[in-house]
Symmetry: C4
Subunit: 224 residues, 4 copies
């Protein structure tokens, strides 16, 4: 198990790489790695930092309840999802990205609760997959700002789909993981590739969907 | 408040980053930051310089009427919009980009006078937005080469839409801002992300539009 | 006027920048700058060199008939087009790119002999254009491997369209130019931006076209 | 002929360049160069290494049966395809990429057993092609995890299409080659360019296809 000091620069570099591809613009995205199993502790990127300028100093450590135990700043509200993934999948690292294609597909498949991807050799880049004749079901859960709810929904979806390598939050982004940071980074690249392929197919075949919300916008006359 | 000497390299670096993403090709785009509030003065990129080679020496200072008070060269004609944004929004920095997707969407939503974006988690990257159940209305004003008109239209649109985080000029580009340069850069990334997502949805669903102008082109026989 | 020694590294750098954007893959593209007017001589990239690894040593000098007068290697067969552009437009530099969007549009507009682009602020990045209410007609000439024919067709098209800032060869690529290399580079960025905007509009509105040739391909049975 | 020590850093650099373009994400892709003809030996990238971090130490040497003769680790299962290409085409280097567009087109043309590309000047970037009036037939063979079958199918397709410069595996990726590594890299750029042009045409004209497999996915209820 790495120490915070050891893993922090690697998490920062992973974040910069993801930002360079346009998969975590602004303060979007969170990146974590397990520091200890018993008791559970994680290194995780600080809330609200720009991913294009992420530094090792912006990585802190939290315990199994998401409370800061080392480093500076506030952990992300989504730390609950990182902890859920680590517990459900015995993962060593968790990466959360917001790409254009994962956003579009999380909406396109939202009503069905998931997205099926099959027939592509690139699926073999996912841990344990040995043939392109594999159908990956990427579960999609509703987005929410209620983190207590998210801390129940995320592990429930992972348990319902024990073979899944990723989890989409609708209109929000991807969580993926690996036994270590290298595998988690590989899973990001593989899934984002598969999302672009699938997204371009969906675009060309009329399967993209516009999100509907209960919100009311400012509108042209300031009242709409 | 920064001095011109302090902020100029940071503005130049912001410009290079925006150019690298393809959001300010050629001499397109302008970048400014507030130097003082009373009296108002801005650091702003010089007119007509290539954004792919922007240097700190190409940033000059202007007063509240857009007259040069320090540095070399001519301030952009669009300095009036920067000044309007700073006054209306109490912004510390203003960034103006010309991306493919903001150009296409400024035309697609031009007749309605704006563009509604809702339901995406990335909206939370906009200052003060705390839920994806937010509907951002991005006002779109007509493009014009009449800068006196633009200096009235831009603040009027900002006043009509006090919650807006960006302003589109039709067929032209985006203005966004922040309390400081870091926040303005974050807003560029967030809005350009949302524009790409929205633009791909519009493309796939037949909502892109070709601009119409009164112009007459050269045509195949030299007369058209 | 620069010497070959002075301009060669700048042309190489322009080529690397264009390659980085994906606008001159493989050995595609040619880049030139005027060394003297009377008699006419050009610095131009050597035929058959990889644009991703272009060096100053791969730039040679040719006279007004396209014969090598300094440096190593063979000038491109398309040197005739560079010479035609320099003579017709009094240009100081000429850049030739093969981008995905200029290729697609050169085919889409090929039957009409050109492409009209209007209504976009980015048009003002073209030399002498002062309003977005400008309609740029980009003439498109047939592609040919008959360079004698190309050496007549290219200047004829430029004379028919004296206001044009670029020339497309059908299914082939863009020629643009400037009074110096900096202006030519700006024109590449501006035109490639306008092509991407226009190409995405054409894609979404059913206006892209597949090229037809007289060629017969290998086919699934080796005879088709 | 290069030694393993000489060619390994060049193969690693080629891999990094291909990864940077997004054409070999994760552990996808393999890159080889001939070390000797009689007996045949190849330098080839190790199985399972991340192409975004490929190093010279991750290149090993294999004999004509694909057995490791120098270096560390396991050669890829697809070494059989590299050996087949080298034997059929007398190639000096072979590059295998997984891009979004080659994946989409390998499926779109899969039922016809190939893809025809014609009419583009960029075709002249392929060795021996002297005119855009060339129709390149890119054969597509079924994907399989049965490497004995692949070691028969690949050379058979190359023999049926002796003029082809590339070979697609359906839903999988591209093999291309050259007399040396520089030519193979050029062929990757040229073919990937032509695939993007063709893929955008196919997208806009309803010719992309979703793969069908016999697989059963996890589905929304965990049983689908």
């Amino acid at each position: 198990m790495p120490t915070l000091r050891e893993i922090a620069p690697e998490l920062a570099e992973a974040g910069l790489a993801v930002h360079a591809r346009g998969w975590a613009f602004g303060t979007a995205g969170n990146f974590s790695a397990v520091l200890s199993r018993e008791p559970l502790s994680l290194a995780i990127s600080r809330s609200g930092v720009d991913k294009g300028r992420l530094t090792a100093e912006q990585i802190l450590a939290v315990d199994g309840e998401g409370r800061r135990i080392e480093g500076e700043g506030k952990p992300s509200d989504e730390t609950v999802v990182h902890l859920a993934v680590v517990r459900e999948r015995d993962a060593g690292a968790v990466l959360h990205t917001h790409s254009v294609w994962n956003t579009l597909l999380s909406e396109a498949g939202g009503d069905e609760g998931g997205l099926q991807i099959e027939g592509f050799e690139m699926l073999k880049g996912l841990s344990g997959v040995t043939t392109h004749e594999h159908a990956e079901w990427v579960p999609i859960i509703p987005n929410t700002q209620d983190y207590a709810r998210m801390s129940r929904d995320a592990p429930a979806a992972l348990r319902r789909h024990p073979a899944a390598h990723g989890l989409l939050l609708r209109g929000h982004g991807l969580y993926t993981w690996g036994r270590d940071l290298a595998e988690a980074r590989r899973h990001v690249e593989i899934l984002e590739f598969l999302f672009e392929v699938t997204g371009r197919l969906y675009s060309a075949t009329g399967r993209l969907k516009t999100p509907r919300t209960a919100a009311t916008a400012g509108g042209p006359d300031g009242a709409r």
